[in-house]
Symmetry: C2
Subunit: 424 residues, 2 copies
Amino acid sequence: MSRPRARLLSIGDELVNGRTVDTNATHLARCLTDAGFLVVGIAAVGDGHGALATALTAAADDADLVVCTGGLGPTDDDRTRAALAEVVGVSLVEDAGAWKAIRRRWALLRPGQEPSPSNRRQALVPTGAEVLANDRGTAPGLLVRRAQTWIACLPGVPHEMIAMAERLIRILPRRFPGLVVPRVAELYLAGVGESLVQEHLYGQFDGEDPQVGITVSESGHLVLRVVGAPAAVRARLAILRRKVRPWLLPAPGLAASIIPTLAARSLTITTAESCTVGLVAAALGSVPGASAVLHEALVAYAPEAKRRRLGVAQAAVQEVVSQACVEAMARGARRRTGADVAVATTGLAGPGGGSPDLPVGTVWVAVADIHGVQSRSVRIDGSRARVQSRAVTEALLITWERLAASRTARGGIIAGKAVNDVPR
Amino acid sequence: MSRPRARLLSIGDELVNGRTVDTNATHLARCLTDAGFLVVGIAAVGDGHGALATALTAAADDADLVVCTGGLGPTDDDRTRAALAEVVGVSLVEDAGAWKAIRRRWALLRPGQEPSPSNRRQALVPTGAEVLANDRGTAPGLLVRRAQTWIACLPGVPHEMIAMAERLIRILPRRFPGLVVPRVAELYLAGVGESLVQEHLYGQFDGEDPQVGITVSESGHLVLRVVGAPAAVRARLAILRRKVRPWLLPAPGLAASIIPTLAARSLTITTAESCTVGLVAAALGSVPGASAVLHEALVAYAPEAKRRRLGVAQAAVQEVVSQACVEAMARGARRRTGADVAVATTGLAGPGGGSPDLPVGTVWVAVADIHGVQSRSVRIDGSRARVQSRAVTEALLITWERLAASRTARGGIIAGKAVNDVPR
């Protein structure tokens, strides 16, 4: 069966004037793709009623499912309900259940206060629409049919939308009886560039079932995504795993791979950071359970702190962006804290302070463990934020490589993870 | 004069299947709005040629300017050039300058290697199109006219797109001779919620000139944005400044306000972090020039590290998410490092470990200076990442409040900043 076609419509002036990034559409596009829909287009329009009704009609005319977000609030600017009623060709009526839910929420959050008439407006729904309960806000969601198309409207506040999208995804199969939910699997890679993987996997990206895609995650690792029929996904995964084995991570991200690996070996880690100013520790600390493995960490930004806290020799401190300095930092952090592994960074994040000999973006990273210390330098282009963020990736990468190199021959931790591995 | 209407079209399968957030469109929407255009819609489509040509035609039929991003790469999937030629009704021809630029870039990045035929394809442009040089990649941008509409195509790689958008914005006034570039000014607020500001500024958001909007930034502060004719913006700014004075920041963000304030007073700062695992130091370190003010910082995640490194008493360490503990951490960090100001965090970031007495999301923050120590607790809902990120905001906020309270009566540092204050 061909996949039902979905279109997304995001509503709000803050989107079209560039004040807010539309993360809602991306989240929904991913959920719907994983649920078996083909998202053919995403649109964003302002709050003006005319543009909204036009865009909604255009989307509904060319899709089996339209999901709108935003414009369900209590103010005059929130015109999604009215536009939806107009496009479907029905009138707005007050939904008793929705009004009750709004009063209940007010009683909870503002005891003794009555909802205002504008809040009561949030209980208005197009005749015949199904109301989707919102347990995180006052605006209920809506699901209504127009000819062959289902139109859903969800609130624009991201955490309300995310909770409600989950419920919407669960009830959609009843409206699309032939819907085939694909198998979705992901492999996570680090230590290799996107173009090299693409060359290495030449031919693997062709074809419709499974579809294979590659993206770079925000935290620097690559994601290989395989979507299709379960058997096709399984077969392709086996091939891909073999081809990308040297770069495979056991979990989605370097930090997410390092923490459980250390925990499984009963090892602890610490950081000694200069140009990353705590971001390496924070990346490790973003993983649940990190506290068992990361007991303490040090930001040694000033030369004096490197000397005093980490015992880096005066000579090494004088040439602060250097191999000698970063290795001394890693060794010093290990010695000082008693951690099994220590990772260190030093570099020039900019924007100022560069010279022809030592340009902005020069970064040294090192990792020290019981066997010794290992380091390397990179040159990173771009803003201060980019230099810092890429330096974190390099620091985590050298740490992961060190851990992976010292793992047992069984290599049990190295495996892809199916993210949607539901038996069907 | 009414503003020229602009539409944005983002091209790429990774956008419609939810793998990539479309930050390009947000950046362009903001640049174009600030340059005097009215962005009436944003759309995203996949790489398929048919959908792309349809979407491009629809956008061009209803706008004075269309800016596309993506699909200019060297692979078969990159179909923007062909779709553009089809929509404009001309053929593709090789541009000698573009081909020369591609060869020059190859000579620089891959000496001795010749560009492949697919790379040569990037020199193809619709007849009559103006080529926009790309100094960060091989794909040149394009600007071409179709009837009354200008269509620009920029590469999809964000840092290439950002550089080229800047150049596009500079050359657009020649194509839109009546374009009136509005004055754009921003005020930055912290320590107050969006809804309270909205109530407090009742009536200020109405009207067309100036337009006043409020958004919450990613790092937790509020942005009040005023856009319109210079005189109208100036007059409104004066009113707004008076109304929001208690919450005004001197720079875009808490960290960006704290660092120069400390520097101006020749003060230093340090952090002692538990649940934020280095993120407070990293936020301070994200500001250029932070190294003059932040010499070192400590992540004391384990109770033992709090005791050993910060001298927190055993009793306080036992109840680790408590006022006693966070205040002892701040005092200890100040004493130990000699910094003038120390900020501390301790809390339960989750997802596990909560109890009815101490639920996940409970966070204590403290700031210590020569006058003493001040602390407070907050309850933060949501994921581990959200608890950590909001805890950072709270830690920076209590620090900023302490600094602001101790400033001189002149209050010279407290002032809004016009971001586009070009004399015209």
